[in-house]
Symmetry: C2
Subunit: 356 residues, 2 copies
C-alpha cells in the first residue's frame, strides 16, 4: 500500500471567497467576521455572511492578525530536556491545560542543554512573535538566563536565576518545606535519635557526573529542611551516608552500609525514590521488614514510589501544578520576580511506622 | 522579593531602524536582509546594512514571511496525552530532534482524548498556518482521523486510521515482529511446550476499562507474533492467563495462578513490563528463581525493566525513532499512505535462561 501522490496543500478560504458566495462586498464580510461595529450592517447580510463562511469552512487568519495586533496567542516552553523525563513531563501537561483555558498555543523546544542550540532556537522563536517564554529545567537548579529572553514576558520553571532578574518570576517545588515535613512524619511516628539521611555526595563532589556540572537544588534544600525540622524538636540527624549517584544500585550499597552499623538507624530518609528502592532491597536482604523494623521516607513521588513493596512514603514533585502556575504567570499583565514555592504532597504513608 | 513592575514587551527592531542606523533607504535594507538579488546594491552598502542589523539585534519577522510564502516553518504534534506518559514521551524528543535539523518549530497540543477540545485546538492550529500535523496516540491504537486534518500534510504516530486515507502515512512499533522475536528468544534458550502468555482479557472484554474503550493494537499483535513464531518451529503456546488490567497487582495474581498449576510453565511471556514485575514478585513468593527456575519475557522496554531483579528481557517501544520518522515524513514532499513499522529492540537478556 505504497501509492505515492504529490502533497497538495489546502488553499485557505479567503474573505473574497465568502463575499462571492454571500453576494456582498469583501469589506462587509471583513466587518462581520472580524466583529467590528464601526459600520452598520443589516442583520440579514450578517446572517448571509455567517452562513457562507460556515459552508466554505472559513477560518480567521491568525498570522495576519498577529501582524496587526503584535500578539500571536502563542508562548514557548523552552527546556533542557523535560520531555524526556517522566516526572518532569507533567510540567508540560500542567502548562498545556492552563494555556488552553487562556486560548494560547504552546511551542515546545528542547535545547539538550547545549548553549549553541539554545541560542539558535531562541532566535527562531522570537522571530515568530511568541508572547512569552517559560524557561524550564529537568531538575531543580540554578540557571543562567539567556540575555535575549530578558526583554519579553518570562517565567522560570523548576529553576531560579543565578542572579535575581527584575520582573522574572520563578516556580519551584518547596523542597525545604518537604524536608521539614519528612522530619515531622518521622518524629510523630516516634523516631528521634536514629534517623539517617541517605544520598549526600563525598567531599569535593557536587553531584553525580551525569548532572552536567549543573548546580542542583534538591539535595541541599531537602537536607536543610530535614535538619531544621529535627532541630525544631530538639533532635538531630544520626548521620548521612554518601553515594556517587542517585540510582537504585547506589541505594542498595549505601543502605547496606548504614544498616550494618551497630546502633543501626530506625529510619532512613532517602534523597530520591531510586535510592529508596535500593534501600528497600538492602533491608529485605538483611531480613529487615519495612516499615516494622525500618521506616523509609523519600522524595520525588515518582511512578516508582507506587510500585515498590511497600509503596513509599514519598514527597512528590508537584510538576503539574508548577507547570500550571508558570503558564498563569507568563500570561499575567503584572510581573514580579517572586520565587513561587509549590508544596510537595506526601504520597502514601505505607513505609513509615513506629520504631520497633 | 515581590517588587511588581508592569510588563513591558520589547519593541521589535524594524527595517526602518536598520536603515536609519546605516544611513541608507529602507528598500536597500530590505533587499540586503531578505537576500533578494533583483536590484544591485554596492558591497559597501551591504556591509553597512549588515553591521547596523547586527548591532541593533535585528531579527527577520517570520510572521510577515509566513503571509508572503504561505509556509510558517512550524508543525504541530497533536496527541491525546503523550506528554503525560513517560515512555510515549520519547516520541516528542525524537520529533523535536528531527524537526530541529530541518529548522522547523513544533507546537505541542494535547487533546485529553476529548473530541470537542480536539476540534477547538485543531481549528486554532490551522488558523496559525502550520505546515503539517503529526497526530499521535499515547498507546498504539486505531484512530478516527478528524476530517479537518485530511487536507494538509499529516502523519499518524503510534496509531493507524480506522480506514486507510490517501497520502497519510502512519508510524507504529513492529509489535508482530517483536512477538515473533520473543518466541525465538525462548525457543533458542530451550523452552518449547511450557510457554505461557500472561495478559489477555476475559471473553467479552476488549481491554482495561481505563483505556477509554479505545481499540489497542499491542495485545493482539504481540500475541499473534508470538503464536506465529512458535508455530514456525512446530511449537505452540501452553496457554494464556487472563487479567482485568495491565498493572503490577494483576501480574502478581495472574502469575501466581499460572505458576501454581501442575505442569507449571518454564517461561512466561508478559504483555507488558508492569505485569512482568508482578510475575517476578509472584515467582519470588513461590520460591522460584528467575531465570534459573523460570524465564520471563516482556514488552515495552520501560524504565521499569531496568530496575527489576533481575532486569527484564523486554522488547522496547522504539518511541524516539518513531517520533523521528514521523517528523521526517511530515516534512516530506511526496506522501504515501504506507504504514511504517519500526523494530522493537530487546533490552537486557537477563530474565531468560535454559529451562531447569
Amino acid at each position: 500500500m505504497d501509492d505515492s501522490t504529490p502533497a497538495e496543500p489546502t488553499r485557505r478560504v479567503t474573505l473574497a471567497d465568502v463575499a462571492a458566495k454571500a453576494g456582498v462586498s469583501v469589506s462587509a464580510v471583513s466587518f462581520v467576521l472580524n466583529g467590528r461595529t464601526d459600520q452598520r450592517i443589516s442583520e440579514r447580510t450578517e446572517q448571509r455572511v455567517q452562513a457562507a463562511a460556515d459552508e466554505l469552512g472559513y477560518r480567521p487568519n491568525l498570522t495576519a492578525r498577529t501582524l496587526r495586533t503584535g500578539r500571536s496567542g502563542t508562548i514557548a516552553l523552552v527546556s533542557d530536556f523535560i520531555s524526556t523525563t517522566s516526572v518532569a513531563n507533567a510540567m508540560v501537561r500542567g502548562a498545556l491545560l492552563e494555556l488552553d483555558r487562556r486560548d494560547t498555543m504552546m511551542f515546545a523546544v528542547e535545547t539538550q542543554g547545549e548553549p549553541e542550540l539554545e541560542n539558535r532556537l531562541l532566535h527562531s522563536l522570537l522571530a515568530r512573535d511568541v508572547d512569552g517564554v517559560i524557561y524550564a529545567a529537568m531538575f531543580t537548579r540554578v540557571v543562567e538566563v539567556p540575555p535575549i529572553l530578558t526583554g519579553l514576558p518570562l517565567v522560570l520553571l523548576n529553576c531560579v536565576p543565578a542572579t535575581p532578574i527584575t520582573a522574572v518570576p520563578a516556580v519551584v517545588p518547596d523542597e525545604q518545606a518537604a524536608g521539614r515535613a519528612a522530619a515531622r512524619v518521622l518524629l510523630e511516628a516516634g523516631h528521634r535519635d536514629r534517623i539517617q539521611f541517605l544520598g549526600t555526595f563525598p567531599p569535593g563532589m557536587v553531584g553525580a557526573p551525569r548532572w552536567h556540572g549543573w548546580q542542583p537544588m534538591a539535595l541541599a534544600d531537602r537536607l536543610d529542611g530535614l535538619r531544621e525540622g529535627l532541630r525544631a524538636a530538639g533532635a538531630s540527624l544520626a548521620g548521612c551516608t554518601t553515594v556517587t549517584d542517585w540510582e537504585v544500585a547506589d541505594g542498595v550499597r549505601a543502605a547496606t552500609e548504614a544498616l550494618s552499623a551497630t546502633d543501626r538507624p530506625t529510619a532512613l530518609v532517602c534523597a530520591n525514590d531510586r535510592l529508596a528502592l535500593g534501600a528497600l532491597r538492602a533491608a529485605r536482604d538483611l531480613g529487615l521488614r519495612v516499615p516494622v523494623d525500618l521506616s523509609v521516607v523519600s522524595f520525588d513521588g515518582s511512578p516508582l514510589a507506587e510500585i515498590t513493596e511497600p509503596p513509599l512514603s514519598s514527597f512528590a514533585l508537584p510538576q503539574e501544578e508548577m507547570g500550571r502556575q508558570a503558564a498563569d504567570l507568563v500570561l499575567a499583565t503584572r510581573r514580579t520576580r517572586r520565587v513561587h514555592r509549590v508544596p510537595m504532597p506526601l504520597t502514601g504513608h505505607t513505609s513509615v511506622a513506629a520504631p520497633a
